[in-house]
Amino acid sequence: MNNDQSLRRRGHVWVFGHDVPNDGGVMTIEMTRQIVYDPNILSKHAMAAIDANFPNRAKPGDFVVAGKNFGSGPLHVQGPLGLKGLGVSVLAESTARSFFRLAIAVGLPILPFAKGILEFVSVGDEVDVDFSSGSITNLTSGRKMMFDPLPTELSQIVTLGGEQKWLETQLTGV
């Protein structure tokens, strides 16, 4: 894959704990029950069930850092869409299967199995993440570490903006 296609983000770290559910964690229960698929609307409620200030204070490029089993529960797309709407990415010790697949489907950058991430970064650290290689540089601590990368083709899907956009390229052979 060309370097210009690599999936990279730089921003500040927000730390959440273990077992953050998709419904009632990543997205408020109220919004998962609405038939809303607009990332901009959903972004105002992302992570708000845990930190009400997050939607207002998180900046594009920032990272939701979580412990094990991130995004567990029903296969509802509102959670990943809300994070995408904010322009943030996810780095988790481990991720629920359903959330991982939804994240790729909507084009949300994620390192789903970043074992050791909670020890590598702290709240407010500035980090530079290359999802395609798994390389994370903690600009605050000056440390660099390799994590399980997102495979090339999945990085490509996310870079293109999700599975539907990627499917279009499969059709045209671009």
Binding site: N69, S72, R97, R101, D148, E163, Q164, L167, Q170, L171
Partner: protein, 410 residues
């Protein structure tokens, strides 16, 4: 390197010599299964994008199981879209209304699922097909990609080896074993894993019982479940000696009592004997996990010669038209009908909350898949889950109880 069963299946489906837990693979499924809630949405999107054909049409099964009985014109339009599109695309198996069944059960009636197959489905309960030695994996919207290009990505899961030993006490059914084993393994161990079932209980279980057991594991987040021992007449697909497992469990079910899942979700498993008297207003025997011959026979044995309690509405729905037909031939429908049950066939029904939904204040006992608030209708209804004989007995008694607590039939 020695492989687990799922590693073997995914290696073959991805055209690789081998693969290991944590690898990402692109797989072409042997069977693709979807239903009326998903097929029209995915296909309309794909057609709009310019996908003119379905690469896997010869392996595709589409059934109308969720909205079979509806007054919603949009849903009726969806049914018509399915009929026309499936015919135009050469979809191998279209199970239209009247010949339909729940998507997780009809493939077994048609004998389409064989040991070692990879089955990709849009609906969550797909791991139930592990009963036939296949890997059933639910990928939700990911199925649109499969319908578009014939393949999709999967991450190879780690495997839990689970051995079930002992002899079941009288009245204990596969549902009791399934809910109890799921609660013992738990979501933390289950998530993203494949469960391989081994041991004498699995070997004695028939396909129905294995289906129930595999299906119950869905609620602890598993990616898939495989009953490793082959069914009679099929080739054996076994893991290699020395294959790497994330964990191994051994359960002895000899002392297991009848179990009930109490609100608010299926993880809240309690012995029936520990329940204080709970009045019920609704009872349902059906769904992909609880509408098989095992369940129908157990329910009919309780209901034969008895009447449903005047305060209770009982709904019985064999999971497929073929199971309904078998119930007819075995005389089970007569027992249901004489008992005062409402009978339908081949639909998700109350388990999806669209047929005989619960109202505010209802207390329900059923063989449905899950008992979350709101799943079966009103969020202000309470839902319990039990095996089919317990549900039938409760419908007769008007409160949650086991079949042994009923007065003998005169």
């Amino acid at each position: 390197m020695p492989s687990t069963t799922i590693e073997k299946i995914l290696a073959r489906a991805s055209g690789s010599a081998s693969c290991a837990a944590g690898d990402y693979v692109w797989v072409t499924p042997d069977r693709i299964i979807t239903h009326d809630l998903n097929y029209p949405r995915y296909r309309r999107m794909l057609k709009e994008m310019g996908f003119t054909s379905i690469p896997g049409a010869k392996n595709l099964l589409v059934t109308i199981d969720h909205t079979t009985h509806t007054e919603d014109q949009k849903k009726l339009d969806d049914h018509e879209f399915i009929r026309k599109d499936a015919a135009a695309q050469g979809v191998k198996w279209l199970l239209d209304v009247g010949r339909h069944g729940i998507s997780h059960n009809v493939p077994l009636d048609l004998d389409l699922v064989k040991p070692g197959m990879l089955v990709l489905a849009s609906d969550t309960r797909a791991p139930a097909l592990g009963c036939a030695g296949a890997a059933g994996i639910a990928i939700g919207m990911g199925l649109a990609t499969v319908l578009g290009i014939g393949k999709t990505w999967l991450r190879v899961p780690e495997t839990l080896k689970v051995r079930i030993e002992g002899a079941l006490r009288p009245g204990v059914m596969s549902r009791d074993v399934g809910q109890w084993v799921a609660s013992q393994i738990g979501a933390e161990a289950g998530d993203y894993r494949c469960i391989e079932f081994h041991g004498p209980v699995i070997e004695q279980f028939d396909t129905d019982c294995r289906h129930t057991l595999c299906n119950a594991m869905v609620d602890i987040g598993v990616k898939t479940v495989i009953c490793a021992p082959a069914l009679s007449g099929h080739a054996v697909l076994l893991p290699d000696a020395g294959a790497a497992y994330a964990a191994e469990f051994v359960f002895d079910v000899s002392a297991l009592e009848l179990q009930v899942c109490a609100p608010p979700d299926p993880a809240n498993v309690v012995p029936l004997s520990a329940m204080s008297e709970t009045r019920v207003s609704s009872a349902f025997i059906g769904s992909c996990i609880g509408g098989k011959m095992e369940d129908m026979r157990a329910a009919a044995a309780v209901l034969k010669g008895r009447r449903v309690h005047p305060d209770v509405r009982l709904t019985v729905i064999p999971a497929t038209q073929a199971i309904y037909q078998k119930c007819l031939e075995e005389g089970l429908l007569e027992s249901f009908s004489r008992a005062g049950a409402d009978i339908s066939a081949g639909i998700c029904g109350p388990c999806y909350g669209t047929y005989a939904p619960l109202r505010d204040g209802d207390v329900s006992i059923s063989t449905a898949t899950r008992n979350d608030p709101g799943r079966m209708g009103s969020e202000k209804a309470q839902c319990y889950i039990g095996n089919a004989a317990v549900v039938a007995a409760s419908a007769v008694a008007g409160h949650i109880c086991g079949p042994f607590e009923l007065e003998p039939v005169a």
